[in-house]
Symmetry: C2
């Protein structure tokens, strides 16, 4: 399935801009910020506005096509992989790594229903601990 079709499935009209941003996130699993997305795509799309990037990632997040990450930072990051996995922020190089986690058994109190689940670690990655 093309990325345009994936957007349509979620009721999002696959405009050029939206597909471009979505495909960037699909092909760059670096958990980029809005600013990084904007800077990377600007050369290809000189008229792109940062506001458009904000609008688009908000739209895609709300549709569940991408995932928003908030890890001990002021800047949100985005991830096209919506599977359940953990994120590890290295305090040294500031990179965000993915890692698998045993999803903890749901021990939410009666009557609580979870929509999103996030597992965030911070620490030191392999490279930086040398």
């Amino acid at each position: 399935m093309t990325s345009a079709e994936m957007l349509m499935e979620k009721g999002i009209r696959p405009s050029l801009t939206r597909v471009m941003i979505y495909e960037y996130l699909l092909s760059h699993r670096t958990h980029p910020t809005v600013d990084e997305i904007y800077k990377e795509l600007s050369p290809k799309a000189p008229t792109l506005s940062k506001t458009t990037v904000y609008n688009t990632v908000k739209l895609l997040s709300q549709a569940g096509v991408i995932k928003m990450l908030t890890i001990e930072e002021q800047q949100a990051r985005f991830d096209a992989c919506t599977d359940h996995h953990g994120h590890f922020l290295c305090n040294g190089c500031k990179k965000v790594y993915d890692f698998d986690v045993d999803v903890p058994c749901d021990t939410l109190p009666q009557g609580f229903t979870a929509l999103t689940k996030e597992i965030f670690y911070t620490g030191t990655c392999k490279k930086c601990s040398k």
Copy 2:
């Protein structure tokens, strides 16, 4: 042990301001923001500055006396309970609840060492789902 002694144990000089902020967090498990802490304590301490609140929560967080939470929001929240437990943000009432979790087995790749671990859920709480 008094809260002042707890601060001293961590090498923090227990000034009036610091003890006041720490005790506020100990007695109010509502995960308040800097702004909320400031507004609550201002009447008692009219000369208190918001900068001081920022400085103090940073100091206490770095010493591990309190914990900083970042859940899908731009504003950081603070918690005097540093035990391992999960946080649940209700999309309805915007309150943050604590809940117990089975700490997931550490499946971090070789060479990675975790300093902090966070488990954040969002969804609907009991009251709001009625």
